[in-house]
């Protein structure tokens, strides 16, 4: 494996660790009464308000529709995800040390699988909060209405416009994945990718 590939993989490992300190996803709620918006940030290890009081206020508003209280302590995945990301970071270091292409492939495969499972899990929690409503104590009951925010994009939920977008942490994770792919491409060294050099090599062969 070329040195440049190893460097990229080491960088990917660092990006994954950095992502632990940043929000992965951000849900923004805007309503006529909340022009400044209420924000919720999903981190690998917790869910918190964009401003200190935002999560409390989102929960306070959610009691009207019978939604469960969003409590980070009640979401077991938040205790696992940081370890999974740290594990991926360590895994890429294994690839750096061994320099084996197969390890990079295995790393990327597990990376992709965990990414997909993570997205499904997030969607599932959104589904659960949006659909599993306490209709006995809900104050606002609209038949057929559910309050699942979108995974990615914008959706109108009563007076709130809910927007959900990946945040800086996810950008770093995505970048780490891309670095892994690039490191594979560069694995065989620069000659394969350099048409001029390839031409020169062909000419040398022809002369010989």
């Amino acid at each position: 494996m070329s040195n440049i590939s190893r460097l990229l993989l080491a960088l990917a490992s660092g990006l994954l660790l950095a992502a632990l300190a940043l929000p992965l996803w951000r849900v923004q709620l805007v309503a006529p009464q909340y022009p400044e918006g209420l924000g919720m940030e999903i981190h690998a290890q917790t869910v918190r308000g964009a401003a200190e009081q935002d999560l409390g206020n989102i929960n306070e508003l959610n009691h009207y529709i019978g939604m469960k209280t969003i409590e980070p302590a009640a979401i077991p995945e938040l205790r696992i995800i940081p370890w999974l990301i740290a594990g991926l970071s360590a895994f890429s270091l294994v690839a750096v040390i061994t320099g084996k292409r197969a390890v990079v492939w295995a790393w990327l495969a597990s990376f992709a699988a965990l990414g997909l499972v993570g997205m499904w899990d997030f969607w599932h929690w959104e589904y659960s909060y949006g659909h599993d409503l306490d209709m006995v104590h809900a104050i606002i009951k609209i038949p057929g209405m559910s309050y699942q925010p979108p995974l990615i994009g914008t959706k109108q939920l009563l007076n709130f416009t809910a927007s959900s977008w990946p945040s800086t942490g996810t950008a770093l994770i995505g970048a780490a994945f891309l670095l892994g792919v690039v490191s594979l491409v560069l694995h065989h060294g620069p000659t394969r990718l350099n048409p001029a050099a390839a031409t020169r090599a062909a000419l040398r062969e022809a002369r010989a």
Partner: protein
């Protein structure tokens, strides 16, 4: 026949007049000017004004806050008067702010708002304001727009020349409008000349919660009217106008208008500090009250103080001088450079301007006419810098634009007069509607005026608005002073009687506003921070109810065990942590006002039920979609009833408990 001809002629005349009126170019010009003015004061919906203006409430005792240039009312800040709208002075937390040595005083007359300064420029930390009737000074915090502190002034009657600030707000001052015996004793009123004195008080003001009387200066028994601190070269001096140098105690209208000149008192307060340091003062036993809000609990406290340092000018030479000034002067205003001392002689035919440089020289040269109670009276010619000739009638107050011009309000001729410092020539004048008192330029009494507008504060309104019976709101008028000619832009009604106003750029305070109080930091002894923590307790005849308010319920909301003869305290905590989510609280038959609860704060309502029954309480501030459901009941039983004390938790919490028990 003759009659009908007359009528036709009359009709024709009216028609002609109508045509002339319709064709007159003045009408067209006026409407163009109106649209021009409108565009200058138009602040589109959702946009902000450029300036905050703080107007005193006069006999309302409060402060009103307007945006300029729109003239939109932003807030009323209760200061010296009870305010049932938010429970100020009615709830247990704010009652101590209105304590005095005369007991609880529910009203006063607030005259002069004064912004705190740093290096002679308004800094947006605090606003001070005086109470004239029962002399006090209040400090309003400008991150919350709330009264935080009130200091009573002993040895004072009529705290009018107040609360003007020194350039770093180390001190604010108060001088007595009414001279009285000091200490106040039972003497014959006609012994005024022997027994009546004035005082000038310096209060330390730059430590929130710790305002105190630094020292008082005993002055001859005149009426002290207004004041202003020196700045730049005159830093360390303070200037006060006085009238009634005739020392009349009756029919002052006539008897206090005899002398051609009264005095501006020049006080060297650095010299006063020296005298205090050298023990050249008398410690006088007296009583006054200091009230302040404890920020952790947001509950006010009250303490009694028992002595002041009283300086007699004869003990401390060099502390005070009198500058003869025509005639019955009202305002005394110092230009931004600190050189000129402008006095508004109510009955003078000129505006006299003293020079600080000449004042110093006159003192050095001992250019004295005479001495009054140890205070040298300087020669008029030795201190006068110039006189503005024929300025109009009844000059009262002067503010400055920072571009070399002064603007003086003329009460009798009802106008603002613009004149040039140094040449003393009048360059422009504009009528006011009607009888202007104070006027205000943002930062217009400071080292750095933002000289874009002058706000005229008028005493008489008459026909300016739709009539509202015999009493009309007072009127403020916004005048553009950005060009050579003053232009009237807007007039708007005001709250109470705004004597003075001060304004500053909104950018100095708007981003420092507190949006809610952090519940975790609420140290009120009866704070309830979670629904489960509410309850009811009895201590003899006192019943304390701890309760939370959150959209859209109180918890607990059913209470029993209260008896006739009890004094009940509802301690309600708004546990919201969101901007502008207020709740209110009121209970049937209460003898005081509602509570208004800011997010995160606890307020206490005292209630003495008189007859058995069930009393509803409810949220008075429309808080949410289910506001109308935000209510509860308290049961009152006869004295000695066996009904036990009971406080439920809210229906929501009860239901949650039932659910929890099921699982």
């Amino acid at each position: 026949m003759r009659l009908s001809t007359q009528r036709s002629l009359l009709l024709a005349a009216v028609a002609v007049a109508g045509v002339i009126y319709a064709c007159t170019p003045r009408a067209k010009t006026a409407s163009l000017a109106a649209s021009d003015a409108a565009s200058k004061v138009y602040v589109p919906p959702g946009s902000y004004d450029e300036f905050y203006a703080f107007l005193s409430g006069g006999y309302s005792g409060q402060v009103s806050v307007y945006g300029l240039p729109s003239g939109r009312l932003l807030k009323l800040i209760p200061v010296f008067s009870q305010f049932p709208e938010d429970g100020y002075g009615y709830n247990e937390e704010t009652k101590p702010l209105l304590q005095t040595t005369y007991g609880f005083v529910p009203w006063d007359d607030s005259h002069h708002p004064e912004l705190s300064q740093t290096n002679g420029v308004p800094d947006g930390r605090w606003l001070f304001i005086n109470a004239n009737n029962t002399p006090r000074v209040a400090r309003i915090d400008l991150t919350r727009f709330e009264t935080d502190e009130i200091l009573q002034i002993p040895n004072s009657a009529g705290g009018h020349a107040s609360p003007f600030t020194t350039p770093n707000s180390k001190y604010v001052v108060s001088a007595t409008r009414f001279s009285v015996p000091i200490p106040n004793t039972d003497v014959a009123i006609d012994t005024y000349k022997q027994n009546f004195k004035g005082t000038i008080t310096f209060m330390t003001a730059d430590q929130p919660g710790k305002m105190d009387i630094a020292f008082q200066i005993l002055m001859p028994g005149y009426n002290y009217d207004l004041g202003h601190a020196g700045k730049g070269p005159s830093d360390g001096w303070f200037f006060f106008t006085s009238y009634n140098t005739e020392q009349a105690s009756t029919k002052l209208e006539e008897n206090a208008s005899q002398n051609d000149k009264d005095y501006v008192a020049a006080i060297n307060y650095k010299r006063a500090e020296e005298c205090v340091a050298q023990n050249k003062f008398t410690t006088q036993t007296t009583e006054y009250v200091h009230n302040w809000v404890d920020q952790a609990s947001r509950a006010a406290k009250s303490e009694k103080k028992t002595s002041v340092k009283l300086i007699n000018p004869s003990q401390c030479p060099g502390i005070a001088y009198y500058l003869p000034t025509p005639k019955s002067p009202h305002g005394v205003d110092i230009d931004p450079t600190g050189e000129y001392i402008v006095a508004g002689g109510k009955l003078a035919t000129v505006i006299p301007v003293h020079s600080f440089t000449k004042l110093q020289k006159a003192i050095a040269d001992k250019a004295f006419d005479k001495e009054v109670d140890g205070i040298p009276v300087l020669k008029y010619d030795a201190v006068i810098a110039g006189e503005v000739q024929k300025p109009g009638l009844g000059p009262l107050h002067t503010e400055f634009d920072g571009k070399g011009y002064a603007y003086t309000s003329m009460f009798i001729s009802s106008e603002v007069v613009k004149w040039k410092l140094g040449t003393w020539e009048v360059v422009d004048r504009i009528p006011t509607y009607y009888s202007i008192g104070h006027l205000s330029i943002p930062g217009g009494d400071s080292k750095q005026p933002w000289g874009k507008y002058v706000l005229a504060l008028n005493k008489i309104t008459k026909d300016r608005y739709l009539p509202t019976g015999p009493e009309m709101a007072q009127s403020a008028q916004l005048i553009d002073i950005s060009g050579d000619k003053m232009k009237l832009l807007l007039d708007f009604p005001t709250i109470g009687e705004p004597h003075y106003a001060q304004a500053l750029p909104a950018s100095l305070i708007k981003d420092k506003q507190i949006k809610f109080f952090k519940l975790a930091e609420n140290a009120h002894p009866f704070a309830t921070k979670a629904e489960s923590e509410g309850g009811i307790t009895r201590t003899g005849k006192r019943v304390d109810i701890k309760m939370i308010a959150i959209r859209s319920h109180f918890a607990p909301d059913n209470l029993e065990g209260v008896q006739v003869g009890d004094t009940v305290y509802f301690h309600v905590t708004n546990i919201e942590q969101d901007w502008d989510i207020e709740h209110g609280f009121a209970v049937l038959g209460q003898n005081n006002s509602e509570l208004i609860l800011n997010p995160g704060e606890t307020r206490t309502l005292q209630w003495i039920p008189k007859t058995p029954g069930v009393y509803p309480f409810y949220c008075t501030d429309f808080c949410s979609a289910l506001h109308q459901e935000m209510q509860g009941y308290v049961r009152v039983s006869p004295a000695g009833s066996p009904v036990k004390l009971m406080a439920n938790v809210s229906k929501k919490t009860q239901a949650q408990l039932v659910e929890a028990q099921k699982h």
